[in-house]
């Protein structure tokens, strides 16, 4: 994990001073509401339904245990004893008081944390593969490059007031776990002629207009990464639409210009600044790499008898957890472990202060004092000795963090929804709970196999519903909550993942297709069940996943299966709407 140098620390501290003064001026009436809004947003502070919401940055999802303990402290002292991990690998507190935020930021700065650019129309927290640096299928370790981008984007003087928010993701593995295809810029680290570089995808994104990113440069050699990003951002900053916030993301500019013309404009801008002062030097990379602490693995771990198989043969619960929550590691004798924050009845991504402290203790004992946040809103212990897995599992089980559902239907990505968010059209947490309760039978859940189910409370798509194999979206119709269902979305790994076909591009991401008219809240578990049963009836074998069957058969068979049910048909939903509208 990257450790701050003097410059990093000074910048974060100066930001605390700056924001404390801005808050004071706002409270004293020296800054208007309009003037303060963007300033507070650039420090992660929203005004939400109940109270301000503070989003704290976790750069590319990496966290150490002193930071996690600080987050627990913040949750206890200034919030209601819990936090919420978001799909950008950040953490959110839903109940702080505005007056307290400067103090919170000051405390966070003592453990090298901040809330800079976690919101607002600026470059947001760069995200990456939660298994970066340890995945067996990794080609290039993206972490040092993520840190370079983190530094370059932080307090960037030219790009603080973009037309709209801007998200960058980096992947360095064969399997794209960073969803580079649905980011404003997706970077895929590759090697070409013995040199590291990046494929650059631009204009992907979800929200109102879901689009898979377009490849605008097949190889930008590493020294030129930052100048290429600068050129891309400059074209967007000057030419992105500012007249309509729904058309202001870079994806609209790329679409309107065509990817080819956009790429030409970027290239023209790039030629002017390429080889300039922001060109990355080898010494610069070395300086940053040297500030990373890397785990000192015990070579003896490879030969230790981990006894996992014998434990698994006698304990089916452990066996299930091993299958779903334990992941391969490039270091022999080690594994990565997902701590599922998707227990039924707990809002996805939520974690209590007590759990944070307990997880910090576990990470100190089993994970070199570090952990990761995944964009699927779980925590990862990235470097666990295999011979400690059984012990760790028992401890996690007591904490309620061993739900064996990673990759399965109940590992639902969800935004906080209408219970907390003022943008939401509909609640999402109660929907998630109802679905999890319907699929509580673990044998059935395991039989269904890998299935990404994502829920968003509104079209802003914070719950990534577009790339769920099944997506659920809250919509507003005449003041009522309704839910639209999509199938066939995926965050990566589809056909032509390397840039082949016209329908599936980016890291092989695909946008789900709407199956038909929306449903009432209490119909959703039935709809999901119908979709799943249709899949089970049509799959070739257990190896063929839900999304594979949707790809093979198309959506019609699923659509028919759902809407043939009189309780779920459009007529019935329409009637339900009329009845509700009539107040019955």
């Amino acid at each position: 994990m990257y450790m701050y140098d003097e410059i990093d620390q000074q910048l974060v501290e100066q930001r605390v001073v700056q924001f404390a003064d801005q808050t004071r001026r706002y409270l004293a009436g020296e800054l208007t509401e309009d003037e303060f809004r963007t300033l507070r947003l650039q420090n992660g502070l929203y005004i939400q339904r109940h109270a301000p919401m503070l989003r704290v940055a976790i750069p590319y999802g990496m966290l150490n245990t002193s930071q996690l303990r600080m987050l627990a402290h913040v949750a206890r002292r200034w919030d209601r004893g819990y936090g919420h991990f978001s799909t950008r690998q950040n953490i959110q507190f839903n109940w702080p008081r505005l007056e307290d935020v400067p103090s919170i930021l000051a405390e966070l700065a003592t453990v090298q944390m901040h809330a800079i650019q976690t919101s607002g129309n600026c470059i947001r927290n760069t995200t990456t593969d939660h298994l970066a640096g340890i995945a067996p299928d990794e080609v290039i370790n993206p972490l040092v490059w993520c840190e370079l981008i983190r530094q370059w984007s932080m307090l960037h003087p030219e790009f603080a007031f973009l037309p709209r928010k801007f998200k960058i993701a980096v992947s360095g593995a064969l399997t794209d776990r960073a969803a580079v295809g649905v980011h404003d810029i997706g970077l895929q680290a590759v090697e070409q002629d013995a040199q590291i570089g990046f494929r650059v995808w631009v204009g992907g994104g979800m929200g109102r207009t879901p689009i898979v990113g377009k490849l605008i440069n097949a190889f930008v050699a590493w020294p030129h990464l930052l100048t290429y990003l600068q050129a891309t951002l400059r074209v967007y900053n000057l030419h992105g639409r500012r007249d309509n916030k729904y058309k202001a993301r870079i994806k609209i500019l790329v679409r309107d210009l065509t990817p080819e013309v956009f790429a030409e404009q970027v290239d023209k801008e790039w030629q002017r600044i390429k080889d300039g002062p922001d060109t990355i030097a080898e010494t610069h990379v070395a300086h940053i790499a040297a500030r990373f602490t890397w785990p000192s693995y015990d070579p003896g771990a490879a030969d230790a008898d981990d006894q996992c198989e014998s434990h698994a043969s006698t304990d089916p619960a452990f066996a299930r957890w091993m299958r779903k929550n334990v992941h391969g590691h490039r270091q022999p004798g080690y594994a990565a472990v997902t701590l599922s924050l998707k227990k039924t009845g707990v809002a996805p991504g939520d974690i209590t202060a007590d759990q944070m402290d307990a997880v910090a203790d576990l990470a100190d004992r089993h994970g070199f004092g570090e952990l990761r946040v995944s964009h699927e809103q779980n925590l990862i212990l990235a470097d666990v000795r295999r011979d400690q897995l059984f012990r760790l599992w028992r401890e996690l089980d007591v904490l309620g963090l061993a739900t064996p559902n990673v990759g399965l239907l109940t590992n639902i990505i969800s935004c906080p929804g209408g219970d907390f968010c003022s943008l939401a059209n509909a609640v999402s947490i109660p929907i998630v709970k109802a679905i999890q309760e319907r699929f509580e039978d673990l044998d059935h859940l395991f039989d269904i196999g890998d299935l990404d189910l994502n829920v968003s409370g509104c079209i802003n798509a914070c719950g990534h519903h577009h790339v769920g194999h099944i997506g659920v979206l809250g919509v507003d119709k005449g003041g009522q909550e309704w839910y639209q269902v999509t199938i066939g979305g995926r965050q990566s790994g589809g056909a032509g993942a390397s840039g082949g076909s016209s329908t599936v591009r980016g890291g092989g991401a695909a946008i789900g297709r709407i199956i038909g008219p929306s449903f009432a809240r209490d119909q959703i578990p039935d709809v999901i069940e119908r979709l799943v049963n249709t899949y089970l009836a049509h799959r070739d074998s257990e190896v063929e996943r839900f999304v594979d069957v949707v790809d093979r058969l198309g959506i019609d068979v699923f659509k028919t299966a759902v809407y043939d049910d009189p309780h779920l048909s459009h007529a019935s939903a329409g009637r339900a709407m009329r009845l509700e509208a009539a107040g019955e």
């Binding site: 910048l11 003087p157 603080a160 900053n237």
Partner: protein, 185 residues
């Protein structure tokens, strides 16, 4: 009247570390119903739009008192120069300063325009931020190449002077690191 005199209102401008009163005024042929070919009198303090400048560049250049040129965020700044990109740098003479307008402070195009002026056009003269300019934006503006700031009402230029160096370190190497010489207090 020089800017240093302070004028009728209080100081509202920062320039190269000095707190001043902005006394410039915009020459607006349409608004004043003047002949489109007319130019402002040859005296200090006039600002013209980019299109006015582009239309009568040579006339403006022969003045004793050069004009400032006002640039809107959606203006095509290639109109500042009559030359092709190769010799642009030599073609910006006769301009007192370039004033980039911020209709709202969240419109960030002016930041990129200033960068282009500095690096693509080689403009070493004054770049002035005008419009919705806050104490809170002068640091980024200064890093992007602005060296004068007409602050909006309610934003004290003395406080802005301190805010210019709100951050004393920086990551981005192609942008200025701001260290302001403050006048002795």
């Amino acid at each position: 009247m020089s800017e240093q005199d302070g004028g009728s209102g209080g100081p509202n401008m920062l320039r190269d570390g000095q707190v001043l009163r902005d006394e410039t005024r915009l020459f607006d042929p349409q608004g004043a119903q003047l002949d489109a070919a007319s130019t402002p009198p040859d005296e200090p303090g006039w600002v013209v739009t980019l299109s006015t400048w582009a239309a009568r560049r040579e006339a403006f250049r022969s003045r004793q008192h050069p004009v400032g040129v006002q640039v809107q965020p959606d203006d095509d700044i290639s109109g500042l120069s009559s030359a092709d990109s190769g010799i642009r740098q030599a073609d910006l003479h006769g301009i007192a300063f370039v004033a980039i307008i911020f209709p709202v402070y969240t419109d960030g195009r002016g930041f990129s325009l200033a960068q282009r002026l500095r690096h693509e056009y080689g403009w070493h003269g004054e770049i002035r931020a005008v419009g919705d300019v806050l104490i809170d934006t002068v640091h980024y503006l200064a890093r992007c190449g602005f060296n004068s700031f007409v602050l909006k009402e309610g934003h004290d230029p003395h406080k802005a002077l301190h805010a210019v160096s709100a951050f004393t370190r920086a990551y981005q190497r192609s942008y200025a690191v701001v260290s302001v010489k403050r006048p002795p207090s």
